[in-house]
């Protein structure tokens, strides 16, 4: 066999490993969660009660926790990340560009557990002693801000997640804005647009599908993030309208409880949660890739 053929087969088999792994993980989750699926059927993701002692396993509090904490994070990180991207692409002097972009990407390099530590020892006390009491006193009538100030809880998780997904949103938005052709900017400026009007009428609409993609990629990361969230969210399987109430996410409950899951059904329920989590993140990431790629397919002038 010639060297080129060997190279082809060896590298192809490496590539196949990815496919096998992906399928393997999916199948493993399905098999392991089968007892739970068989017992609870489609009630599993819709049941509010999670009480391992009683043998009651419902995934709804975790699905709720994951979705709400991730959306909370997205709501905070999106304006910030988009602002950073706009600054870097449209307004930043060239000599500062590299440094700021580097610092933003460095945020992504901080290990999750460090964010968790920072969350527990800095963010949570600050929330508990300053932010939450103020909110409860002045905005307490709104269900979002009622209850005692725990510090740990949905709000802390959302904040930590927001910081963690900020770099991915900022850097992908920046890449998207950089693909906007200069003649679009000039078209707006020549009509008498200010910088901001140019960004609003020409740059953002041109990149909108890519920017949605950046959101989805950020969301995908937030949905699956485990360590930092587990450290600050409080791990209580309850659904509460208050952002200051402790909660739990799909990732946090699996990480927290797999060592103590004694019964077969308990463990199987955790696998079931894992299956739900994988499906959601898989779909979100798929959607994100599709949106980011679609920016290259915009109709072009001749």
């Amino acid at each position: 066999m010639s060297a080129d053929r060997i190279l082809k087969w060896v590298t192809a088999s490496f590539a196949m490993i990815v496919v096998v792994l992906l399928c393997g993980i999916g199948i493993m989750l399905l098999v392991k969660s089968w007892p739970a699926i068989h017992t609870f059927t489609w009630h599993f993701p819709l049941t509010r009660l999670w009480d391992p002692v009683q043998g009651a396993f419902g995934a709804l509090p975790f699905i709720y926790g994951t979705v709400v904490s991730s959306l909370l994070a997205l709501m905070m990180a999106l304006p910030l990340g988009l602002g950073i991207a706009i600054f870097l692409v449209e307004l930043c002097p060239d000599r500062l560009k590299g440094t700021i972009a580097f610092l933003v990407e460095l945020l992504a390099a901080i290990p999750s557990v460090i964010y968790g530590l920072w969350g527990i020892f800095f963010l949570v006390p600050w929330l508990r002693e300053t932010i939450e009491p103020w909110c409860i006193e002045h905005l307490g009538v709104v269900p979002l801000f009622e209850g005692p100030p725990y510090g740990i809880g949905m709000c802390a998780a959302g904040l930590v997640l927001a910081i963690m997904i900020l770099p991915i949103i900022a850097s992908i938005s920046r890449d998207v804005l950089e693909t906007v052709p200069n003649d679009q900017r000039e078209a707006a400026l020549a009509l008498g647009a200010t910088r901001w009007e140019m960004i609003r009428t020409a740059v953002l609409p041109y990149g909108r599908s890519g920017l949605f993609g950046a959101c989805f990629l950020g969301l995908g990361r937030a949905l699956g993030e485990t360590m930092a969230v587990t450290m600050v969210i409080g791990n209580r399987p309850e659904i509460s309208t208050s952002l200051f109430h402790p909660a739990a996410t799909m990732a946090s409950v699996v990480a927290n409880e797999f060592t103590e899951a004694t019964g077969e059904l308990y463990l199987s329920a955790l696998f079931g949660i894992g299956l739900v989590l994988l499906s959601i993140t898989f779909l979100v990431n798929l959607g994100a890739r599709w949106l980011v790629l679609s920016i290259g397919r915009l109709p072009q002038g001749t």
Binding site: E186, T201, P205, T302
Partner: protein, 253 residues
């Protein structure tokens, strides 16, 4: 052609890209309600010259200009560039409609920036401008369709309609036909001829036939300098400078 006074003029205009001097002491007078063509080989500074006239040149990082540009006798460097660009519109080499906007939204984009919200008024102005840009007949039934779906020549006329909508006095055209086929080109040239009655037009072109056909006055530029400027007929028949003659007879460029 009632007003042939100087609409726009530059005096000792110099322009740089970083350390590169792209315009060397250019002084030119652009008469009102006429078409002034600027010809010259690639890189001679003709685009840079008109991009100085609406202060687009300075939007490029590291680019700067010195000297004077006067619009109706007033220095444009003492005006707000945003306001100036509403008086001095620009058409680019490559048609650049906004791809996410419909045809009508493209035309009214500048007006909406100005804060005009009245739908009926917007539609009225859009129709007028599309008529002036000789595009109305072709698009009147698909105003809500995306502008990017039009052909190249139609897109360029759409861009002209968009520029006309903000009611400019001067139109700067930077090689508006270089990306178009001959039929679209002749349509744009006809359009230039008609627009001349109401607008002052500066037409940058590398196509000498186009300059000869479409313009009243022609300026020849070479290596960042204005070599010669005069009545189009005179420049093409009895040029004063040897360089102009060499260029128009095809000896270089």
């Amino acid at each position: 052609m009632d007003d042939h006074g100087q609409k726009l003029s530059t005096q000792h205009l110099q322009a740089w890209f970083g350390a590169h001097l792209a315009l060397k002491e250019v002084s030119i007078d652009i008469p009102g309600n006429r078409v002034t063509a600027i010809i010259g080989p690639s890189g001679c500074g003709k685009s840079t010259l008109i991009r100085c006239m609406n202060r687009m040149h300075e939007t490029i990082p590291s680019a700067r200009a010195a000297g004077a540009v006067l619009l109706d006798g007033r220095s444009i460097y003492q005006q707000d560039p945003v306001q100036l660009r509403r008086q001095v519109g620009m058409i680019f080499q490559k048609p650049n409609p906004f791809p996410t906007m419909s045809i009508i939204d493209n035309v009214t984009a500048g007006l909406r920036l100005n804060g005009l919200r009245d739908r009926r008024r917007l539609e009225e102005i859009a129709a007028q401008c599309l008529q002036k840009a000789a595009l109305w007949e072709e698009v009147k039934d698909k105003l809500r369709y995306p502008g990017a779906g039009l052909s190249g020549g139609q897109q360029q006329r759409l861009c002209i309609a968009r520029a006309l909508a903000v009611n400019p006095e001067v139109l700067l055209m930077d090689e508006p036909c270089s990306a178009l086929d001959p039929i679209s080109t002749s349509k744009i040239e006809e359009l230039i001829h008609e627009l001349r009655a109401h607008y002052t037009i500066v037409l940058v072109t590398h196509n000498m036939q186009q300059a000869a056909r479409a313009s009243d006055q022609t300026a020849f530029m070479y290596m960042g300098r204005l070599v010669e400027c005069g009545e189009t007929r005179q420049v093409f028949t009895t040029p004063k400078a040897q360089q102009t003659e060499d260029y128009i007879t095809g000896r270089f460029g």
